[in-house]
Symmetry: C2
Subunit: 336 residues, 2 copies
Amino acid sequence: MVTIDDVAKRAGLSKSTVSRVINDYPHVSIKKKEKVFEAMKELGYVPNSSARSLRNKKTQMIAVLVPRIMNPFFGQLAESMEIQAAKHGYQLLICQTMYSKETELKHLELLKMRQVDGMILTSIENEWDVVKEYLSYGPMILCNEFEEEATIPTVKFDQIHGGYVATKHLIRQGHKKIAYCTGGQKSNVGQHRRRGFNLALQEYHLSFDERYGFYDAFSIEDGIRIFKHIHQMPDPPTAVFTGSDEVAAGIITGAKEYGVSVPEALAVIGFDNQVITKLMDPKISTVEQPIPFLAKRAVEVMVDRISHKGNDQEVYEYPLELIIRESTVSPIRAVE
Amino acid sequence: MVTIDDVAKRAGLSKSTVSRVINDYPHVSIKKKEKVFEAMKELGYVPNSSARSLRNKKTQMIAVLVPRIMNPFFGQLAESMEIQAAKHGYQLLICQTMYSKETELKHLELLKMRQVDGMILTSIENEWDVVKEYLSYGPMILCNEFEEEATIPTVKFDQIHGGYVATKHLIRQGHKKIAYCTGGQKSNVGQHRRRGFNLALQEYHLSFDERYGFYDAFSIEDGIRIFKHIHQMPDPPTAVFTGSDEVAAGIITGAKEYGVSVPEALAVIGFDNQVITKLMDPKISTVEQPIPFLAKRAVEVMVDRISHKGNDQEVYEYPLELIIRESTVSPIRAVE
DNA sequence: CTGTTAGCGCATTCAA
DNA sequence: TTGAATGCGCTAACAG
């Protein structure tokens, strides 16, 4: 392995000078600088990253915790962050918690052993009280998920508004019996969406029938299962608010199988604006989350925090936008 | 920051002893071992990973290069590898090349600067001659993609057979005019699929009409575009072999829009068996690639190579399986 | 069984 | 403007 010493010898200089050239220090004569570059090229030298990390106490790596990258939302978030991190000279270490407390904890240790300079949390499996203990080992920020009591930078979407506009849209299509599906009950993201949902209902003086609540909806299969349940209810809902496009797709798939027409007999709205929404027949109305913006800001805030800039209390909120397609609006009785 | 020295002092021992306990060496008295554990716990000590890496010349990190994690095939591959790597005590560093030569090269440097112990390539953007230069810096293996001239371990699917069974299936449904879609022309994966395609054609003494070849098909949008092209051809194909479920989904979406019935007027077969195949109407016939097996083996081979075990020439090949659904077989004239 | 010592490769004092 | 010396935190000889 070729080290900084080899380069120094080759260039007939000290390793301090070589180090200065590598790190682009001023006060190095052009001549010697060129000599160093030449020697580096000839030897194919590249600084050893472990040595650098040890010395600088910085690894130039940022970890991002996501439940799974195969979840389109988190996949896109991670992808955008990687690109963004690279622009700032950081490697992004994508860690999947697989919805497990233990795995999340294991990943949090990365901060303790200084394998990463900072950690971005996009979801939280453990109680905040246990997660916050890791704050003493390095900067942590929240992105997407949030925590009222947390005193760390947060970058999020306005989920209340998202839940509100989607629900309001259904109501304005004439629906009064609206079902509600959501994934993780604990998640504040989900809770805010629910708040928006309730807000819209209140505004139109509608009440929620508890039989219409489904609280373990994540996947396409869950959507199909929920449809079947709805289908055999005595007084079924006429519209469904779902927390994800996958669940919406599942409900539509189920409806198709049973010959129930969407949106005429059952309107369905998704969340995320994934590609699948444009592929299904009918195309799925949904709420778009501008993920790249969120990712960009999160990485910027993280980079600032690593260099002790920025404020711990900062909260950035991005708006959500309703996208109307075919799963909520019949082409015949289009209203909105 | 609490170091090994702090632990040693706290326990009233030398840091060598502490190190021995950390690394689970034999010949340490139970009593002192307990003392060390106690001190570690009290101080909340965790070894610094940069220091360990520098000293051991091992980072316990494996990099995997994928084009994009948002591509369902590569996303699943990366996800499976992460889980598998963790089982062996390795961190997986997922790197996206974004189909760019430069980005791939940038990621290859990780091996040179010893940031990772090994590198798994699932796709290749640059010429093999330039990639192979990095072999001198650490173990590299191929997983999914392959290279005839490469003398490194390879874990792959039997793509020839995959292309063959899919095409044969179409032929046996009575098709004689079969179109062929593929992504990256350079990829050996694609070339082998094509070989299988040709093999089936030959077996049934069919010839290929060059007008039916489409060589830039990656996405849903590409599929839609290809359908439109096919739709206005004077003597169009009656079936399409696609290299991906996304392209197949696009073609079906396009067909629907133009009122062309699938599979009656146009049969379509995908590749990968992604969830989307079960969601589309008609459900898409496809070829399943057992990704988790591939991922598991790749990580195992990599771990072996890092510890200088195994053979450079080993090639592991996994079979591909045809899955027949609705996009190739009319429920009325079912034959197979 | 345990402690002392010497680096791993690098960046940064401090002198010159 | 440059070089010599020091130490980041850890593991592995080598003694004892």
